[in-house]
């Protein structure tokens, strides 16, 4: 491996990177190898009630009636929670950073928008009784036509309370980037190269399924033992949903048996805490493996159209991108993911004319949300595949094509930010060295810090 190049930091401070490049033991590794690491499910309380969810059997339907009586007759079933029990039923996870409107019910009222959506919660003395109770609840639906395709959804009848099948960004139906004049760029270009890229949803499949136990305390507080990756999102949303001050709630967590973004949503905690408050007993709500795979939010499916105007010498003079993020039925983190996707365009390249429309679209699919670099990962797949397509079209070396277009310090990006700390040129040069590839002298001499004369 090449020595890590710390020269970029040399002007800022002493290059005292003691940890970078060294192997440092994890603080929790000893607990892991002895089995002493305490995950939320390892903390148990006597008298705990088990919560099992009745889930929608349709992708899109009106709820005509929910009959909970048969469930209440199952020995051991203590209570069934419906939307009527939730103090503030409508929320959106990123509300506290200004995202709105509230678009998701904790428990649905008159309709379900995806298959597997939570309908009502059965609390029972044992897991078996809770499962049996959930099986006995009779939900009557009137099926509605579902929409599964992002582009179809853009022109379909709105199915959300919000009134549009897309998230509204400051009055627009998408996140937009306008830089230069793409039409002029396309007119000047020697070649027009256009491709479509698409991904499927990806499930994180953490080895530990999502779950929590909510325990009422003598002090009147509720303590929630959770494997959430986002303790503060969870605390804030719980306080809003339950209509209690923050200091009535305590979250214990931080030990996560695999998350990868899949445990950032706030789904299980508010309902478990509500159950605990209404029964004054600890309530455990843990996803089964099947629930984890079917209803926990995956990485969003995306579709991108990339159209490039390219000169014979490899310069990309115009890039137009239309990007769709499939948020599924509710926005969760996808509105933010779409903004991230837009911010990432047009890739690490200096292109004088850029036009981006990034849509966050609602469909009747499982809501998507956070996952490792969400918003960026699929965009990168598309952008870099497109770079390879352009190189192939021109008969050019793909590394050299990237170097020709690489952004450098001092360039103005499509978002009108000045580039600083660029390293793409150096990274490509290092990759060439490590793979034994010889770059032409003019590419070997390039630098991110200054453009060649």
């Amino acid at each position: 491996m090449e020595k890590i190049d710390t020269s970029f930091f040399s002007k800022e401070r002493e290059a005292d990177l003691f940890v970078v490049g060294e192997s440092v033991q994890r603080a929790d590794a000893r607990g892991h190898v002895t089995g002493q690491t305490q995950f939320y499910e390892d903390v148990t309380f006597p008298n705990t009630l088990h919560l099992k969810m009745v889930r929608s059997t349709h992708h899109h339907a009106l709820i005509k009636n929910i009959d909970i009586e048969p469930a209440m007759k199952v020995p051991g079933v203590v209570r069934v929670l419906t939307h009527k029990d939730v103090p503030n039923n409508w929320y959106t996870i990123l509300k506290l950073i200004g995202v709105g409107p509230d678009d998701e019910p904790v428990l649905p009222e008159d309709r379900v928008l995806f298959k597997g959506e939570q309908v009502c919660a059965v609390l029972a003395e044992t897991e078996q009784a809770a499962l049996e109770g959930a099986r006995r609840v009779v939900a009557d639906y009137e099926e509605l036509p579902p929409v599964f395709d992002v582009e179809e959804a853009m022109t379909s009848k709105p199915f959300k309370q919000a009134g549009t099948n897309y998230f509204v960004y400051e009055g627009h139906n998408c996140r937009r980037i306008r830089f230069g004049d793409v039409d002029k760029g396309f007119a000047e270009a020697d070649h027009i190269i256009e491709h479509r890229y698409e991904s499927a949803p990806i499930e994180h499949a953490p080895t530990e399924t999502t779950g929590c136990t909510a325990k009422p305390e003598g002090s009147g507080r509720v303590t929630v033992y959770s494997n959430t990756q986002a303790l503060y999102f969870t605390l804030d949303n719980m306080a809003l949903i339950l209509g209690v001050p923050f200091n009535k709630l305590r979250l214990v967590g931080g030990t996560v048996g695999g998350g990868f973004g899949g445990k950032v949503d706030v789904i299980v905690e508010p309902i478990a805490a509500l159950g605990a408050m209404l029964t004054n007993r600890p309530v455990k709500y843990a996803y089964s493996r099947a629930e984890e795979m079917q209803v926990s939010s995956p990485r969003a499916a995306e579709r991108l159209y990339i159209k490039d105007g390219v000169m014979k010498d490899g310069r990309i003079v115009a890039r137009k991108i239309t990007l769709y993020v499939d948020a599924g039925a509710y926005c969760r983190h996808s509105t933010y993911g779409t903004t991230k996707a837009a911010a990432h365009m047009p890739g690490p390249y200096s292109i004088p004319n850029v036009h981006v429309d990034a849509y966050c679209v609602y469909t009747n699919r499982t809501p998507s949300s956070a996952m490792r670099g969400f918003g960026v990962t699929i965009g990168d797949f598309a952008l870099e595949s497109q770079m390879d397509q352009v190189a192939r079209h021109l008969g050019m070396d793909p590394m050299e094509l990237r170097l020709i277009n690489a952004y450098r310090d001092g360039d103005t990006k499509a978002h009108r930010k000045t580039v600083e700390g660029a390293a793409l040129v150096e990274v490509i040069q290092a990759a060439a060295r490590q793979t034994g590839k010889e770059l032409a002298p003019r590419f070997a001499a390039m630098s991110s810090y200054q453009r060649e004369a």
Partner: protein, 164 residues
């Protein structure tokens, strides 16, 4: 439902466990015995997080009705840990950076213990096969396979030292 009493030797101690019909060994260990080091990942024998030794053999405890193993000897991660320091397998996993979130680790280590009990000098292929029922989603398999082989080497060396 009528409960029954099952006798188990758990980490060297004789235990009487009162269980409902169909109770799995995993639930008996975690809920009756408080041995939470054995993890629950899928409850369907797909992930290996609940791997323990039953009469010296690696088994997924979530698939084993405890009534069917009356009289068995069970070893879990808690029993592997010596009073002082760590077991060589634990040392190998720790020093080899073979843990990340840690959720699969107990199962991986018990699968390794089962392998090394029957084969003290495994090939890399043997190591891969031994952990093939254990899923790590943090994608640390290479480090884990290295740790299994390192553990085997440490245990062989300890045996040689003892013999000398």
């Amino acid at each position: 439902m009528k409960h029954s009493v099952v006798a188990l030797t758990v980490n060297g101690a004789e235990r009487q466990v009162l269980v409902a019909p169909g109770t799995t060994l995993l639930d008996a260990l975690r809920e009756s015995q408080g041995l939470t080091g054995t993890r629950r990942g899928c409850d369907q024998g797909a992930c290996g997080a609940c791997t323990v030794l039953v009469d010296g053999k690696t088994m997924m405890s979530c698939l084993l009705p405890v009534e069917t193993i009356d009289g068995a000897t069970i070893d879990t991660i808690e029993g592997l840990t010596p009073m002082e320091g760590l077991h060589p397998i634990q040392e190998a996993f720790l020093e080899g950076f073979a843990t990340q979130c840690g959720f699969c680790t107990s199962g991986m280590i018990m699968a390794t213990a089962g392998l090394l009990a029957r084969n003290p000098d495994p090939s890399r292929e043997d190591a891969v096969r031994a952990i093939s029922g254990n899923i790590c989603r943090c994608t640390g398999y290479e480090a884990i396979i290295d740790a299994v082989l390192d553990a085997a080497a440490r245990m062989r060396a300890a045996k040689r030292d003892k013999a000398a």
